[in-house]
Amino acid sequence: MSMAIEIKQVSKSYAGRRVLDRFSAALPAHETTVIMGPSGCGKTTLLRLLMGLERPDAGQIDGLPDKISAVFQEERLCRPFSALANVRLVTGKSVSRQIIAHHLAEIGLSGSILQPVRTLSGGQQRRVSIVRAMLADSDLILLDEPFKGLDADTKNSVLTYVKSKAEGKTLLVVTHDAAEATALAPVDSWIRMPAIPAD
């Protein structure tokens, strides 16, 4: 098993409040890793550090690739534009319209491809953001509670979609749901983040 990314003794605080305390982990390349932990234990902060949106106060992260794609906690879509255009924003012309349309159809968005994203439901917007992350040219895919707000049936089809598209890619998924974690990766690929004790 080759190690793609090594998180070494990383700490991060916001306004004096510690959210990550000397956290270490290794993410194997071309495999799915699931991060679990109680609310406020620093899961999203860890993803922001991996995305390069924050710098750690201490410690370091080695082996981070240049090309990263992500599903954020929020959809972060360009609301006046269509689902197709939102995916094209990150893929450029390297992925054809037909392929994007095929991916969107695969998770039940065939009828909403050209609709402005602002007219889609929360669950539909979530799925657009998932397709965007899976189709972008990346060496590391970070998913922050990607199935939040999806009903049971949709969640199953999206889980199947994510698993099939992530094959052979380095994927890191943050979730609270043990069933989702089980569906995505074997238990020995789970990282359980400890709760940060109050200062």
Binding site: M51, G52, L53, D66, K67, I68, S69, A70, F72, E74, R76, C78, R79, P80, F81, S82, A85, L89, V90, G92, P116, R132, A136
Partner: protein, 253 residues
Amino acid sequence: MTAYGKLPPWTKLLSVLLALLVWQLAAWLVQSHLLLVSPWTALVRLVILSGQGSFWLAVFHSLGRILLGFALALVTGICLAVFSARWPLMDVLLWPYMAAIKATPVASFIILCLIWLDSRSLSVFISFLMVLPIIYTSVLQGIRSTDVQLLEMAQVFRVNRWRRLCYIYLPQLRPFLVSSCTVATGLAWKAGIAAEVIGIPAGTIGERLYQAKIYLDTGDLFAWTIVVVGLSIVVDKAIVHGLDRLFACMESR
């Protein structure tokens, strides 16, 4: 009234008719063509004037100059706002100029600029000067209120600058740009025509207004004022419609 509390469009037409009625009543009470002509008299003068070639030449000269000033201010204002958003020091350096332009009476600028510029360029420059701070301030505010979460998304996905502009910045700037253009067109017309009335360049609306004042021709004064108000409304609607079409076209890709 609609569900959103907006009145239907025909109520605007009704308000115009009501205003004309008030004007007619006032003219009837004043009973002096020198002080206040009736809407009918003004309309008759307008019809007579519009039959003359010089009327259309004056309209096109003034329209061209004021639009040129507006367009230059739009481009300059957007460029300066982009630079100021990128380098905040630039906003600080520009602040005294923008504050002075906003606060100084337009007549002061016109008289001062008349010393430096020829009367034909005056309305271009004055329109430019009056529109610039409105566009600059509004666009800068729009850029600064751009959704940080979308910018982070673009950073993570390494979205290039051109796409960031088209997908993130421009859609967020849309309401700022539309509202500032609406305010600025009215101001450009007011200031531009004022510059023409003081500078009196030949063959312009300002010159015709000045002549109407000299010869106490209140009918012509009102007719030309109607022309200015009409042009200002048409230009405003055209710009807003053009911007709406541009954004709609961009978003439908």
